[in-house]
Subunit: 91 residues, 2 copies
Amino acid sequence: MAPSQQFSVQVEVLLRDGIADPQGATIERALPALGLDGVTAVRAGKSFRFDIAASDDADALAQATVVADRLLANPVIEESVVTVRPAGSPA
Amino acid sequence: MAPSQQFSVQVEVLLRDGIADPQGATIERALPALGLDGVTAVRAGKSFRFDIAASDDADALAQATVVADRLLANPVIEESVVTVRPAGSPA
């Protein structure tokens, strides 16, 4: 294994459907005061970005998924979306 | 103005470069204990998703940017990235 390439990773963590999201609900209630009535279905979550050294795309995705599932998200109530791209490429 | 279309919006809020990110630093320090040594430059932020009713793409982006700058992010220390796509299209 020669982890020679750098990859940029984004992990988005959102509450699963059906889990109460009080932060999202509070944001939604605040919006009419800003004059915005067309906003619905607000969900609040977390976003993490990091760089990872890996031998290829699949290795980077596997390592990033371990980080997401074991450290960043609580899989019981949260779902995570992992996006990997070569470092330096556009988001 | 006929706000007839629905758009899906993602807003990612991250601390600006140079602002201390203790949550990201703590995550980075925890990773070697999971056997992951190749992870660097961890940044922790927030992610919000919502639906918005707007007349077209530009209107949806303008409204979503107001939400991001006035409610979701603190522009002094945080930068926000707003992504708008027609509802139902793949992420």
